[in-house]
Symmetry: none
Subunit: 260 residues, 2 copies
């Protein structure tokens, strides 16, 4: 950052971090408390969705602390303390949560054991690779290195998109029509929320730096994480409740749990 | 604050924050531990009521920390440290909790799935809009900007009041007479506790500033939050228990859970 952030920008970013911590923790608790409302078949999907939000809550707490430690706001003037803001928390978070996000989407579909393990493994490994390959570019100081690792990271990304819309697409078409649209919505939100990350990644190429860019990047990442984790997590829960009800009704309405 | 707060005022405000943190956390634990006492139909209402108090507990912990960081009390003399008190925690809290408060009221009524989703979505979005539109006015330095955003925020507020008393009113009239009055009380408390916020919002217009006004505002916000979240949360629990008992008795008294 060549110029300094204004106190308003500094506070906005800090409040966005705090808001995200609260939302992620609240979503975790919501999902885990309501886990009893879905049938055994979908409990793992809810457990994982809650885990994703719990991991994100931890990282947003740390990100907020790191942000507070990096600057002091004395009498309305913002000064760097010398401690650098630890942006790596995001990558560490994604390394855990992005594979889990894809796995929760596979789990809520209630596929056969073989299909579940196969798709979870392929998508999970591809997601981890995507994050690992992106990181050296993120911390690179020259744009050539950044472009190289960014390109490498795009390979697993393209594979994930192909799998989500082709391989998983066929499985979605086999889902009950009562949940098919919701699952497509969850897939689309997962994919759309990812759209923000490459834009931020490529920002230095376009010389988009300075306090305003920094504010947009930090708040944007935060919103993208909120959609990808908390909003998708609640969607996964809604899908699981709906499927529990549908399958309970089909089994003769004997499932006591199917009251959502 | 032109004049300084007295040490008594400073301590009163800090203790109000600490009291509210403890009350919110206690209410959360009460609601979640007793969630097993209500039938499945009302568990989501209790989950959400607990979440609202949990989110508020987090923010009151932060508000208290920010208050401590903003002032030092040295030998009975109060001095600003230079760190500004972060009032935005309140808005961030409300952005999450006010929509959830309305949703818990809808959920405890046990309406049809369509009605529940419809009313929750409408009220939730209106509540979020009301908070988002109010914030630019709250941080504005001139009264004209404050009035403009305050007026914009009033539009969704009026819509919410209309929905609460008209649309939801019809649904309340269809409720069992054993709980109708309690639900009306919860609705009234929710609405009445909100009455404090516009008063505080408009205080700068009447030149109500200074240490006494600051003390009234901070303690007033705290009491309003306690009523809107903890008291209403316990009322929601009482309604859910009563409905569980009534519906258990109507079903032949076979529901083991209806023991409140």
């Amino acid at each position: 950052m060549e110029q300094a952030l204004s106190p308003f920008q500094y506070n906005l970013i800090f409040n966005a971090f705090s808001f995200t911590f609260a939302t992620m923790l609240a979503t975790t608790l919501f999902l885990w408390l309501n886990r009893s409302q879905v049938s055994d078949r979908y409990k793992s999907a809810i457990t994982i969705s809650g885990l994703v939000c719990a991991i994100a809550a931890y990282h947003y707490l740390r990100i907020g602390q790191s942000w507070e430690a990096a600057f002091t706001l004395q009498d309305g003037v913002l000064e760097a303390t010398g401690y650098s803001f630890n942006d790596a928390y995001r990558y560490v978070d994604w390394l855990l949560t992005v594979p889990l996000l894809l796995i929760e989407l596979v789990l809520v579909m209630g596929l056969s054991r073989e299909e579940t393990i196969g798709k979870s493994t392929k998508l999970g490994i591809a997601a981890a690779l995507m994050i690992i390959l992106g990181f050296p570019g993120e911390i690179a100081t020259d744009n050539a290195t950044r472009a190289l690792w960014g390109a490498a990271s795009t390979v697993p990304f393209v594979y994930i998109v192909y799998e989500l819309f082709k391989g998983l697409g066929e499985a979605i078409d086999r889902q009950h029509e009562g949940v098919r649209e919701l699952i497509k919505k969850a897939r689309l939100l997962t994919f759309a929320s990812w759209g923000f990350y490459p834009i931020v990644y490529m920002a230095p190429f376009a010389d988009i730096t300075g306090p305003t860019a920094e504010t947009v990047i930090q708040v944007g990442y935060t919103l993208a994480d909120l959609v990808a984790k908390a909003v998708v997590g609640v969607l996964i829960y809604m899908i699981a409740v709906r499927k529990t009800q549908i399958e309970g009704a089909e089994a003769g309405g004997t499932t006591a749990e199917a009251t959502g």
